[in-house]
Amino acid sequence: MTRVFRLFILLWCAAVGMMAQEEKVSVPPSIETEGPAELLERGRAAFAANDFLQAEAALEKFIVDYGAAEEAKEAARLHRPLVAICKVGLRKFDEALKWIDESLLDPKMDKSLSDELRFWRGICLMTGGELVAAQRAFGEYWAEERHNAFKRYEALLLFATLYVQQDFPAEAADFLEEQLPQVREASPEAAGRAVVLELHARLQAGQHDEALAVVRREFGNLGGMTQVVSFQTLALQLGAALLERERYHDAISCLQRIWPARRLIDHQNAKAVEIEERIALLEPQPNTQGVVFQLRSILGRVRRELENFEKVEHFDSALRLRLAMAFQGLGRYRESALILEEMLATLPPDPVVENAALAQIQCWMETKHWPKAVAAAERYGEVFGAEGKSLPMVLFLKGEALRENEDPGGAQLAYGELVERFPEDPFAAKVRFLQGFLYLQQDDNEGALYQFEQVRRRHPESEMVEDADYWTGMAHSFSALHAEARRHLEGYLERWKTPKYKKEATFRIAVSTFSLAEYPEAIGRLAAFVAAWPDDPLVDEANLLLGDALFGEGRNDEGFAAYGRVRPEAGRYFEEAWFKKGKALRLLDELSAMRKHFEAFVLEHPGSGRLPEAVHWIGWAHLQEGKVERARDIHWKTIEEYGDDPGRHTVVDLLAGLPKVYASGGAEARTDLLTKLQLLKSRAAVSDRTTLALRTGWGKALVEGGDRARTELLSIARWVDPKRHDPVVSVAVAEAQLASGNRFVAKELLSEIRRWHPRVVERDRIYRALGDIAVEEGDIDRAVGYYERFEREMATSVHLGEVRLKLAGLHEGAGRTDAAREVLEKTLETAGVPAAVKAEVLLRLGRSYAEEGEDRKAIVHFERLYVAYGKFGELNARAYWARGQALERLQLLREALETYEEFVAREDLRSFAEVEEAARRIEVLRREQPIESGGRGAL
């Protein structure tokens, strides 16, 4: 008997109260001595009191002992069914069957009794293992519409159950599906159970499509279903089966129709309360026992489901995890991640949830949603902490996500946490290697070398050791330690039987040899590399270096041949080879050949970024040959030919280079250049070649300089299209507009340039100008935003110091003294900031401290100014004066006097007004204040 079948029978019996006779009631011994009348009386009374044991004993004895007698025949006929019922009640199904069959032979038997016995006959046959006969009995019972309605539905379900029992689940399911419309309206509760059985049978039959159809069909009826938990549990099984068969869409469709555990429990609790209320309402009313009995059966089923379900662990997590897996199976990582995210937010931690947390991070990684991956990893750490069995992997993934999110610092921290907390974890070696690699990417070769060494020392068995070994050689190479690089990589090739970086190491050894200027050996190594890997992309670089080395050895023809082998598809290496070839021709004094070489470049590669360079060399060759006009002509020809194409940005470089081409002719040549530029600009404008007109106007402004340049730039402003045109031109025009007071136009133009060229090199000028405009407009926050962006993005700009001064000024103006000082201090430490700016910064810092009454700090900055930046007279004068004043406030009068004296003694500062003030203070201090020694010591 299958588990489901046994369960069904037990539940059914319990529901109809058959188990009520469990307690053993002993049969009174007097029965053996009682006569027929007493037996009948005792039996009937016991039967009426539901005491089946006594009733059975008395009535069976009566029928067996006296039933054959003529006068007792009628009584025996009447009481035979009662004995059958007693035996059923006592679960003596095998004995009951005989009594039922004998009773049913009686044509005069009461209809309701006959109805009852026919139903129980099926039960007896079923429990006796006579499944076919039982099914037939139930089938006959169901087919007869006059039978008890309640039992008919039970018979229907038992009929179907017996199909399942006999291993015909498909037949059971088809039968139920066919009968359901009849049942649904008459007995929704029985219909609900029929649906549960149908779904179970479909699953048993492996009919997943049909089972899914049941889940879809019945979803709208869940509210009315008594055994909704069983149904949903089966649906979960179906979802899992579909998932296992990689039917992801179907699995999703199924799993999406399953309620969460809380809802199921709430629903069943509400159902139980509703049934209890109905029972309470009906019970006191007459003629409702039947309904009450049914309701109690239903209530029992609901409660049992609830009890069983409340013991089920991880229902929700299992459901969500499966749903997430189905989405993952479809490659819908975002959906999967979102489900897992919600699951983690609402479910208490358990092993399933922990796996889900890891899967969530991986899904976010798949979607390249790095911040989410990082957040998920952090959440894992918060929820599962050190107990999390996947914490090392989580930390690794977090580091990877941070690295991908361009946060190398954060990545280093995550990697560092992993190796610190889990030094023996298999991930540790990989992470140490990645730490080294991150250092390499940040040009910290020393840091990289340290980490690679750690991989070798701490994880000698790891496969990452080889990677660390190779990259150690590369780190030496990046540090220009070519001898170390070569030695290490040669060692690498020896240390590993089949080195996975063999090609790369061989190439790098050749490059290092070349870099050490050991050309004969380099030639051999590079040639060997080219021969060994003729199709490798590295071959072009190798040929380029080979050419250099061959020229270095005076093997010019071979050198030319090597350059010639660099393939056009090698891009910059190809161009580099071309220009090296040109340079070689120049050094060999083959000027005509060199000129033709570059003329060919201009002709064949007009789109190259190195076009102006090629034109320059053509012009240079002409100049060497004394052909000044031809040198100039090639520039004009190229500018005219390509100048109107907005995509050829290098034309502006040609224009910028024109003053050099005209440098030899003095003022006359300059005038000639300006005239030619004006003419070209006019011709271009007339012929609607506005890009060319714009560029030549800009070129003319470069030559003009000063106010004329601004006028020129304003004249070409109408042609500027910030989207298409060279930002260097557009920015110059915008700056001219700003200088002319056209703030709004300048702002619009600058904003548009930034919009279309967010990474343009001129963005330092753009941010500075937009910041200045914002200041003029009184929008300080916006100005601070632009200046800070300048700081972040243009740290190498020559204007950085100047912009920081402005930024500090804004902070000061807004009362943010600390922020202002921080900016100023930072400026002092920044390399490349002009000395004049640093001097100004010192003065500002000194004043800032002085204004706050921190004179001791102030005097240091003032002194530092005139000691370190003595050439900036005006600033020096102010610093001396301010320092003297601060010292006086500190009552360090001797030092103040010394400062003033030093100040007035400086010849170069005599013209500044502060000198006179200082002289007056000297007089006062000398006259009024007796100077005591030891003042400096107080500093």
């Binding site: 999406q256 479809l330 819908r332 975002r334 959906e335 979102l338 949603h369 967010p758």
Partner: protein, 303 residues
Amino acid sequence: MNVFVSNVLLAFLCLPAVARDVIVLKSGESVACRLDELTDRLVNVTLSGGAEVPGGSARRTFPVDQVERIEFAFVPGEEEVFLRRATASADVLKTWWDRAVSHLHRPRSRAAAWGVAYADALLREESERGPDRALSVYDLVLARAWSPEDAAAAKQGRLRALMSKGDLATATEEARALARETEDPALLLEAEHLLAMADFQALRELEEEHPRWMEDDEVRPRRHALYHRILDQFLKPHLFHATHEEVAARGLLSAAELLLFGGERAEAKARFEDLLFLYPSTGSSVEAAKQLESLSPNPSDVP
């Protein structure tokens, strides 16, 4: 029992069913009558026909504190409009709302139903000031309606009005609270979808404003954050409320469209396919099918 009331009851219990107001007293008795005047202190009615006033009528006054409720009969023409109030015009409904508004707080009055119907019509008709006017009606009903059902309807209407006004933040917040109270996420889903749509528009504007956003280190993270947020939001009904099929399908369709906008063609195609598979009978599936067809390679292009 009050003798007067008993007599009245006896007189009217057997009256034929005609459109009459009924006053139910706190004592449990009820009186069929015509309501003449109703204040917060007194109820004046006219009793007509029956044993007490055979062939005539009698005016009676009840103190309000004795009255449990009044069941208002329909006045001529009212019932017909009331039955079709879900489709009636705002102009028509306004008349009835204006007549009923003074009874808004009275148990069993239809005033709240008229108010909700009127405000619904204002929203339905999409006039410029409609959402504002509707909002004020819903708020009034919310403040004074006697039945929780009317208050709930007004609450939902208020959310729709807020959405129409574009105040999605408030709408979402209130929808979230409403979803918690009622376990019905429909309005929350609606509000969140509208929020996501507004964000999608903001994304379009951002990309228009920054056509080279991918090169812009400051804009790129903002753009990505917005893009991912909208995508997640669009997908949520599909993932967590899939049985609200139309809403789930609409979200999935929007997600696919967003992916298409973001240049993630294969990802978009996958979502259109999901939609057709999981929500084949929804309105959104038609659009998904069209989109999928346009994304499929032209057979003539295949070598």
